[in-house]
């Protein structure tokens, strides 16, 4: 059966990059893929969420293909909110499995620092229904805050059981050279940071970030013809959707789309959850870390905070989450985030994760969300 491999990955430091444009970020990140030869690319997928609003630039397929000297290659832009990167990866995976492409370049790029603070709040709420919520000034952070409050009330938990996740993320990012926020923090700092929407605090959310990441996918047929230094199998990929507002779902605290995507991606190579030792999750708000880990079955309902406190998700635990700091601390350059997650798992499974290395990891997985779980993507990777 035809298989899909990742033969190269590149990522830039996530930061507020005032001097960089979409074009310059793309050329820099693609430069980092020079160990893969020859450069015969059948298709390019560019993940980006807000280019036409913040940089007044649409048609990023052609723009990016020209930027990197590949005008002539089929190229298109993929938008799926915060999951754009994962959606582009899934599109590349499908193109290769279909037999229509042998080599695919997936690039995620986003520049959020061009926005004012009010624009950032507006734009970060665009994955929710505008006609119903956005027009009233209901922000996505406010929706996350209400999920957070319902969660603490239902399971009668102290806020610490949610607010400790950012502490863990900053701990992991402190060893990651490409992370946006490499400082460590404490639970006291998180809980005394400014309130965004109670109970949600500033240090439980993300901040504007610029970044770019890229991976090269190839088919099992093409693999012998491509010079590469490292390889990882992209063993499974899947996506699912859910009712858009969490409060219209049967249970607002259950991320069903994430669970469906995750188990479908695992089922393709016939893997079980227990084999995954590296897991990148979409913690754009602290509460989403709890809800994802509980929805996909790593923790019982209401127990993810206690499990985290007991070290289950840290080095030496059952599965290490967000080994480079996740959305919280590595940073969340919206449309690029999913490609960062994939590049990070590639680094882990090829033993090049430096101080963030998880020893003996043979399998890794990532979960990427749009909005508050209305779209979910999961990818599973296997040592090459």
């Amino acid at each position: 059966m035809r298989k899909v491999y990742i033969v190269g990955a590149s990522l830039l430091k996530v930061d507020e990059q005032w001097n960089q444009s979409i074009d310059s970020l793309v050329t820099q990140v693609v430069d980092g893929l020079s160990e893969v030869r020859p450069w015969k690319i059948d298709a390019i997928y560019v993940a980006n969420a807000l280019g036409e609003i913040l940089q007044s630039q649409a048609n990023l397929g052609a723009i990016v293909a020209e930027d990197i000297g590949l005008a002539g290659v089929p190229a298109l832009r993929v938008e799926a909110g915060g999951a754009s990167g994962a959606a582009a990866l899934l599109a590349g995976y499908q193109a290769i499995l279909s037999g229509l492409a042998d080599t695919v370049l997936v690039i995620g790029v986003e520049k959020l620092s061009d926005a004012t603070p009010e624009e950032s709040v507006f734009l970060s709420s665009l994955s929710e229904r505008y006609d119903l919520l956005g027009f009233q000034g209901v922000t996505e952070a406010a929706l996350a805050a209400m999920m957070y409050r319902l969660y603490l009330e239902r399971y009668e938990l102290p806020q610490e059981m949610v607010a400790q996740f950012p502490v863990l993320m900053h701990e992991h990012a402190s060893k990651a050279p490409h992370a946006q926020y490499q400082f460590k923090t404490t639970l006291e700092n998180v809980l005394s940071s400014p309130v965004v929407s109670p109970p949600l605090r500033r240090l439980e959310t993300t901040a504007p970030a610029d970044g770019a990441a890229a991976v090269i996918l190839c088919s099992s047929d093409a693999l012998p013809t491509i010079q590469h230094e490292q390889v990882v199998e992209l063993a499974g990929a899947a996506s699912s959707t859910d009712i858009v507002s969490p409060f219209d779902r049967e249970d607002p605290l259950k991320l069903s789309a994430a669970a469906r995507a995750f188990y479908e991606a695992l089922a393709r190579p016939g893997l079980s959850r227990e084999q995954i030792k590296v897991l990148e999750i979409h913690d754009s708000y602290s509460i989403l870390a709890n809800l994802i880990l509980e929805s996909i079955g790593y923790s019982a309902e209401g127990a993810s905070g206690l499990d985290a406190k007991n070290g289950m998700f840290d080095y030496g635990g059952k599965v290490v989450i967000n080994t480079f700091g996740g959305l919280k601390a590595r940073g969340h350059p919206l449309g690029a985030t999913g490609v960062y997650q994939a590049a990070e798992i590639f680094l882990q499974l090829t033993g090049r994760a430096g101080a963030c290395q998880v020893d003996g990891a043979k399998y890794g997985a990532m979960i990427s969300l749009a909005g508050l779980g209305s779209s979910a993507y999961a990818l599973v990777m296997k040592e090459g």
Binding site: V121, F135, G137, V138, A142, E153, S197, F247
Partner: protein, 138 residues
Amino acid sequence: MHAVFRPPVNWRHRRFRYRLVVWRCLNCGAVHHYATSICRRCRSNRVAEDKLPDRARLITYTVVKNPPVAFEKQAPYIVGLVEFEDGTRLVAGITDCDPEELKPGIELEKVVRKIAEDGESGLIVYGYKFRPVITRSH
């Protein structure tokens, strides 16, 4: 950045935003804030106009301290999750009270209020908000 409010958008949503007119599925009861011929929950095509009641109960709430474009002057403001007697849920602005007065389960009534202005000479947007019901003591 793009205009946040556009006149035709406000115009086509006027019946929902001012009067809570909705499109209800006659098969499963799901409610839609837009005209539809397919139920988003059960895919039935038996959908008819209905109206949500003017009273609801508060489930939970929060306060927006970091506002989006066009809401800069209003922050901090309260938004809440409300539930009508038929189980339909809506997230809406909560007004005429302080956060301390709010508790899950309290009764709320609909009011129509100014939502926002788009720029100095721009469009004024109106719509529903909810406020706690004050009960008379005699």
